[in-house]
């Protein structure tokens, strides 16, 4: 043959699948018209990802819906072989019986990763989902989740992400404990959740919502935690337990490397009877980010100090001081000298960032504490929420007075 030979059709199937997976599903299917060899190359792809871009855009919403349903059904019927990953992310579909049929089809074809991000409408997950026992990753958004009594869990599940799911707390708890290999857990957009998490292999925990009570019962391998905790109006529920929440939540995570808390997280941790000291030292904790810490509240400052002083390898600290007060507090002065905090050393702390500083006593004392106990400190960035220039100047002058243990420490002031 003197003519140019086919460049690509004879490449090994693994490479062709590599290429086809990187195309949108629409482009991948289009390759079936290229030549006879390409006719069914796309049909053995194991990862299928759909969204409303699969069909032509139109202003008529029901039309887009119909086209999308037709498209997905068509693809599934033309597909050959196992499907390992199925992702559907579109607000155009909510509750449609077609989705049930697709899930049934997937449950018979070895589905391992399932992502269903639907529009608001509480699609009730069909029972065939609970028969997909090979699942390693499950992500549901805007669904109703009601496992049958006989369901014991997904024994291979490593990643679970539930967002705005209608489900009973017992169901979540038993789901989590029924997935022994679970490594990543994300629960978001929940109301008044009371949860006890027992997951021996869990490494990453992400919580975002209104939680009444969280107990990390058995999570020894946790490496990273991020919590955005919204406060239920009825604060008295919080105050009921006498256990110190800081211990209840962070008492059993010795391998923790990164801790991030938003909104009322620090307040939540501060509730309960303080036993005096923490049971464990966080040897691996390198980053602490606590936002919306209410420095007027002495118990919150105590939480912050406890965490910082029990983390000998802490490298980066970010604290935002803007309080979201449910009720105004009188500032409780927290005398650090009195409590011997300057006996501590923060041997690895290098970067500190304090935002929304309003210049109250406790905030300044905290910065003084950091400057006086961190021998390798390099940067301290302070941003202020004060609008009054004089007040800001006062604060800056005060901060500059503080003695610094680290010769390289720089105090930087940025305007909010």
């Amino acid at each position: 043959m003197g003519e140019s030979p086919d460049l690509v059709s004879d490449l090994p199937q693994s490479i062709l699948e590599n290429i086809l997976t990187r195309l949108s599903i629409r482009d991948a299917i289009r390759t079936s018209v290229l030549s006879t060899k390409w006719r069914y190359k796309w049909s053995t792809l194991t990862d299928l990802m759909f969204d409303e871009k699969c069909v032509p855009a139109a202003t008529d919403r029901p039309l887009v819906e119909t086209n999308l349903v037709r498209f997905i059904t068509g693809v599934l019927l033309l597909h050959q072989g196992p499907i390992h990953k199925f992702q559907l992310s579109t607000s155009f579909l909510q509750c449609r019986p077609d989705i049930d049929q697709w899930l049934l089809f997937l449950s018979r074809n070895g589905i391992k990763e399932l992502v269903l991000e639907l529009g608001e409408g509480e699609f009730r997950v069909p029972s065939c989902l609970f028969k997909c026992l090979k699942l390693t990753r499950l992500e549901l958004c805007h669904c109703e989740f009601d496992p049958p009594k006989s369901f014991t869990g997904f024994s291979y599940l490593k990643s679970l992400n539930l967002h705005q799911i209608l489900v009973s707390p017992e169901a979540i708890e038993s789901l989590i404990s029924g997935c022994p290999l679970l490594e990543f857990l994300s629960l978001s957009y929940f109301d008044s959740l009371v949860l006890s998490i027992s997951a021996p292999n869990l490494m990453y925990l992400y919580l975002d919502g209104e939680f009444k009570d969280i107990f990390l019962e058995n999570t020894p391998k946790l490496v990273a935690i991020s919590v955005s905790m919204y406060m239920h109006e009825d604060v008295s529920d919080f105050e009921q337990s006498s256990d110190y929440n800081l211990v209840k939540f962070l008492g059993g995570v010795p391998l923790l490397e990164k801790l991030v808390g938003y909104i009322y997280f620090t307040k939540y941790l501060s509730i309960g009877d303080d036993p005096g000291r923490l049971p464990i030292t966080y040897i691996h904790l390198k980053t602490i980010e606590l936002y919306q810490v209410s420095f007027e509240d002495a118990s919150e400052v105590l939480v912050l100090l406890r965490l910082v002083t029990h983390s000998p390898n802490l490298k980066e600290l970010k604290v935002s001081a803007s309080p979201i007060q449910l009720f105004p507090l009188e500032e409780e002065s927290f005398d650090l000298f009195e409590r011997d905090y300057f006996e501590y050393k923060l041997p690895r702390l290098e970067t500190v960032r304090m935002t929304d500083v309003s210049g109250i006593r406790n905030e300044l004392e905290f910065i003084r504490f950091l400057l006086g106990t961190s021998p390798v400190l390099e940067t301290v960035i302070v941003t202020s929420s004060l609008s009054d220039k004089d007040a800001r100047m006062e604060m800056v002058v005060e901060l500059l007075r503080f003695p610094r243990v680290s010769p390289r420490a720089q105090l930087l002031f940025l305007q909010d």
């Binding site: 460049l7 590599n18 290429i19 299917i29 289009r30 079936s32 290229l34 006879t36 349903v69 068509g74």
Partner: protein
């Protein structure tokens, strides 16, 4: 290098250890060990065969066939950059973006060679580049870039996609159908059926004589004509493939009318069924060219299929589509019609 040369060991060479690699075409080269060991395949070879492997020209490690010297040198450049530990992720990304800029042919060869050396990051990199080339392009453009043969028939191109893509040809086809049907329905009302039949017979005679020069098949023409009409209709609507049958536009019109009204379909099916059993003999007797016969059979099938699906779309009623299959000798069998699910019709 001669034996004498080999004995002169340069001081630089004493510092680094080298591995000898042999490509499929027989050429041998030596490469710094840490660079070559970045390829898993080479690494495995060395570990499996012991320390002696690749240490001299004689026991050079032979590389898989898909690695030619040009590709090998490219891959080694890649390895040379990436095996240095101190580089930042950004540096590596910038290097990769520049590295991957090459013509498509080399990109394909590179992907193939990297795959046989099990160098996954490079396979991913080249696959990504190839995907970027493909995405958003029309099939014609893709065929041109990769030198793919355009060997699918028009029907095949439309088939699996019919239900998925908004192929404008489908819409055009349906519109043409609808238009023709409407026109001919009206004409039918005006003219009356007898006139049609007469017109048909005349032109079919012409047709038959064109094919085989005989005209003693007049009896059968009344049935055959329908098949011919269908062929013509199909050809007319499609890409005018069969130029040999280029006759009688009025036939097409009349045909469409008899296929036209919804109520005609069942009778049409009967006709087709009986028609085929007749024409089977007819064809054998005619001594038709088998290639032509095959082509005609295929077109009948395709047309029938298209007819069915267009019915589901346009009539919107629950009509039983009839499935035809053509086996080797051209006979059609009617399979049990099944209801097409509502959601799954032409897209």
């Amino acid at each position: 290098m001669s034996e004498a040369d080999m004995s002169i060991i340069k001081p630089e060479m004493m510092m680094k250890s080298y591995i000898w690699l042999e490509t499929a075409d027989g050429s041998i080269q030596q490469v710094e060990q840490e660079v070559a060991m970045y390829c898993p395949m080479i690494c495995h070879e060395v570990l499996q065969k012991g320390l002696g492997a690749g240490s001299s020209k004689n026991c050079a490690i032979s590389l898989p066939q898909r690695v030619n010297p040009a590709m090998l040198s490219l891959i080694l450049d890649y390895c040379r950059f990436h095996q240095v530990p101190g580089r930042s992720n950004k540096e590596r990304k910038v290097h990769d973006e520049k590295f991957i800029r090459m013509d498509t042919k080399r990109l394909c060869e590179l992907a193939s060679a990297a795959d046989s050396l099990q160098l996954k990051p490079l396979v991913d990199l080249s696959s990504r580049a190839l995907a970027r080339i493909i995405e958003g392009k029309t099939p014609e453009e893709i065929r041109e870039i990769f030198h793919l043969p355009d060997d699918l028939t028009e029907e095949e191109k439309l088939e699996p996609l019919k239900n998925l893509m908004d192929d404008p040809r489908i819409r055009l086809l349906n519109r043409l159908y609808a238009k023709k049907r409407k026109e001919l329905k009206e004409r039918e009302k005006l003219k009356g059926k007898e006139v049609e039949e007469r017109v048909d017979e005349r032109s079919v005679d012409d047709l038959l004589s064109f094919i085989n020069g005989k005209d003693h098949k007049v009896v059968k023409t009344s049935k055959n004509k329908k098949k011919n009409k269908k062929r013509k209709e199909h050809k007319n609507k499609d890409s005018h493939k069969l130029h040999s049958k280029q006759q009688g536009v009025q036939i097409v019109d009349e045909t469409a009318s008899s296929l036209g009204g919804v109520s005609n379909l069942p009778s049409m099916e009967d006709d087709i069924f009986s028609l085929q059993t007749d024409s089977e003999d007819g064809y054998v007797d005619d001594g038709m060219d088998p290639v032509l016969k095959e082509m005609l059979d295929r077109e009948v099938e395709d047309f029938a299929r298209r007819l069915n699906s267009s019915w589901v779309l346009s009539s919107g009623q629950e009509r039983q589509p009839v499935h035809f299959s053509i086996n080797g000798n051209g006979a059609t069998r009617r399979l049990t019609g099944t209801h097409t699910p509502q959601g799954f019709s032409q897209g």
